[in-house]
Symmetry: C2
Subunit: 199 residues, 2 copies
Amino acid sequence: MQTTEDPAAPAQASTAGSRRDTRAAIITATVALVSDRGFSATSVDDIAERAGVAKGSVYYNFGSKAALFETVLTEGQRTLTAALRAAADGRTGRDAVGALVHELLEQIQGHPDFAKVLVAEVFRTGRDWQDSIRQVRDESFAVFAEVVAASWPQRDPSLTAAAMFGATLVAGLEWLAFQPDRGVADVRRAVLATVLDPL
Amino acid sequence: MQTTEDPAAPAQASTAGSRRDTRAAIITATVALVSDRGFSATSVDDIAERAGVAKGSVYYNFGSKAALFETVLTEGQRTLTAALRAAADGRTGRDAVGALVHELLEQIQGHPDFAKVLVAEVFRTGRDWQDSIRQVRDESFAVFAEVVAASWPQRDPSLTAAAMFGATLVAGLEWLAFQPDRGVADVRRAVLATVLDPL
DNA sequence: GTCTATAAATAGATAGAC
DNA sequence: GTCTATCTATTTATAGAC
């Protein structure tokens, strides 16, 4: 795990060309390709080409294909967990759930590729980066579970958290992948109605 | 697409050895391996070995690796959709939703590997079998959506269906993958409370 | 209809120039 | 620190024996 010494970072892919945003370009390209085709179906050649760098640079910066993917998961997890924690901070009950669903949808909209990777990998157990993906899952679910435990002690925290997270994630991806013309508000309304209001 | 002429079919994997359950053994082995490692990370050699047949038999029976996976998806979809339709049949409102969640959890419990494959592939767009997986999604969501449309016309059918399906699927897989000692009843209670009861 | 052996292509990874 | 060229292993797929 190297340190990132340059805080500039344009971060977009395609022709990183000249500088140290090489790492960022590679990560962006990896998420984009893996979200669409899966990790094993994505070659390091593909990643290098999409990132606008040579294959050797991928190995110089990340060591191996598996290590690269672990970095992708770890960085994505950091962003996601921080956003969820910030959204829930200081809130309880319906207010907290509403904020969490809202923020998770924002994250899905802002990082749709990572969301796809997450849903594709989260329940697999036979892969090298199993521990990394499990950490993403644990920490994300935990934010929901803590809110549930604090506000509705009679409910099962972890299973309820999984249900809420799953409802938001699947509805959010359904929206992005198949109904992209809809607004976020439609999705938020549908999820919150499902999770918060009685039928 | 060949016809299956033998209705006997022990259907279990490992040492199909002697007869025409070769196809069934291959499919079972494929779902098991792919659910754990993903499609591209699973080689035809692995599949043949797990199924107890030679690699040549895989190609003789299915033509290609991609065609084999399409068959897996199509067969799984047929089972899942039929079960959901049967569960919802003649019911409406909360009763129908309860029956659908219950049946979906039963299917996840009965075919956990297919459930994992489904969640891993359902939002990918860059794969050969895109159309097959889209059909699974469409038909499964449709059962939920029809119930919603018929009973709660003010709600968005497709997004609400996605939320309900996602809540059940993710909670169900959370259960099987990480809390297998719990009973189905716990999961059903948690999902139904989340989806049907107000917070 | 299933097997073994092999062909042809592609993958991850490394060496060394710049 | 990034590039090009190459090595080696693995993979999908096929041919032909049984």
